[in-house]
């Protein structure tokens, strides 16, 4: 084989939200590229399904709810040192601005913003992140591209992008890199929620210049690049991955 700057051999990588969707795709791709992968999610049986798609000898799971900040320190304590983290855990929501209740705002911000921020803080406090590691956040084009009913979701993704920019600056002295991926629509359970159904989505899919929504693998391949040494000079970036839509 020889020269392969995209290899993840010898790297230990944590993937959150790995029970389905983009997280599952990222976990499987990292395993295929030779990494030791630790997957996290709330649903044990779905995590087991993800594990069955991976090279299980080198991979393991740590189930847990990241929004439960009380158990976060024990969860982090059980982790080995990490060369990469991909924050994929997230939820969607479609509620018009005028109908928003405080619970709606909390539930999205807790999962999409507070949980990754507090996990990241705990990982740093417990010195679990190796020098020159790579941290990736799954954001969304929603942070700059509005759609009906998507206000809080969009805001949560905008918040994580702004956070990641500062994290990149703070971790640069240790050559730790921080980047975001902003996908357009990807076929996962997340987009099939709250008033949007498959029929409407297929109609929308046709408006994409490349004539399709993304697949989890499309996102996973960019995550692999960001985790690998091939992207050693990339930090503080937010890469749009969208099949051509803006």
């Amino acid at each position: 084989m020889g020269f392969n700057p995209f290899s993840l051999e010898g790297k230990t990588i944590l993937v959150t939200g790995a029970s389905s969707g983009i997280g599952r795709g990222v976990a499987v791709a990292c395993s295929n590229m030779g990494a030791k992968v630790i997957i996290n999610g709330r649903n044990v049986s779905k995590l087991q399904e993800t594990l069955s798609l991976m090279d299980t000898e080198d991979c393991s799971m740590i189930p847990g709810d990241l929004t439960n900040t009380k158990s976060l320190d024990t969860l982090v304590a059980s982790l080995p040192n990490l060369d990469g983290i991909v924050h994929c855990a997230g939820i969607g929501q479609r509620i018009p601005c005028k109908d928003l209740q405080i619970e709606n705002v909390d539930c999205v911000m807790d999962v999409n913003f507070k949980a990754p921020v507090m996990l990241q803080a705990e990982l740093l406090r417990q010195k679990k992140i190796s020098k020159a590691a790579s941290i990736v956040f799954i954001a969304s084009i929603a942070s700059w591209s509005p759609s009906m009913g998507n206000a809080v979701y969009s805001a949560s993704k905008g918040a994580i992008v702004s956070y990641a920019n500062c994290l990149a600056l703070e971790l640069a002295p240790r050559k730790i890199r921080v980047n975001c991926i902003s996908p357009a629509m990807v076929w996962t359970d997340l987009i099939l929620r709250d008033g949007i159904d498959e029929e409407q989505l297929k109609e929308d899919e046709n408006k994409y210049p490349l004539k399709r929504y993304g697949k989890p693998e499309d996102i996973a391949n960019l995550a692999v690049y960001m985790l690998s040494d091939a992207s050693a000079w990339m930090t503080g970036s937010n890469v749009k991955l969208s099949g051509g839509v803006s």
Binding site: R94, P96, D99, Q200
Partner: protein, 75 residues
């Protein structure tokens, strides 16, 4: 669940449509102000007022306000 109460709550989702225009037999998709956003508001209303979950597809399959009432009532 009370039909008249539901009609009142449904009419509340509109800003420029007079409540008197909305009755049990109104074909709500034909209302000028009806849009996919109103549909999302109806989904939110079903959830917050009645604690019921309905989908956009199910709303599209309803014709009258009473159909919508029956949908929410059946959940």
């Amino acid at each position: 669940m009370d039909l008249n109460e539901f009609i009142k709550n449904f009419a509340e989702q509109f800003d420029d449509t007079d409540a008197s225009e909305i009755t049990a037999t109104t074909e709500f998709h034909e209302l000028d102000e009806w849009s996919s956003l109103t549909g999302m508001s109806v989904i939110a209303m079903a959830k917050t007022v009645y604690g019921k979950t309905i989908t956009g597809k199910e709303i599209r399959e309803c014709e009258t306000v009473e159909d919508l009432f029956n949908l929410v009532n059946s959940k």
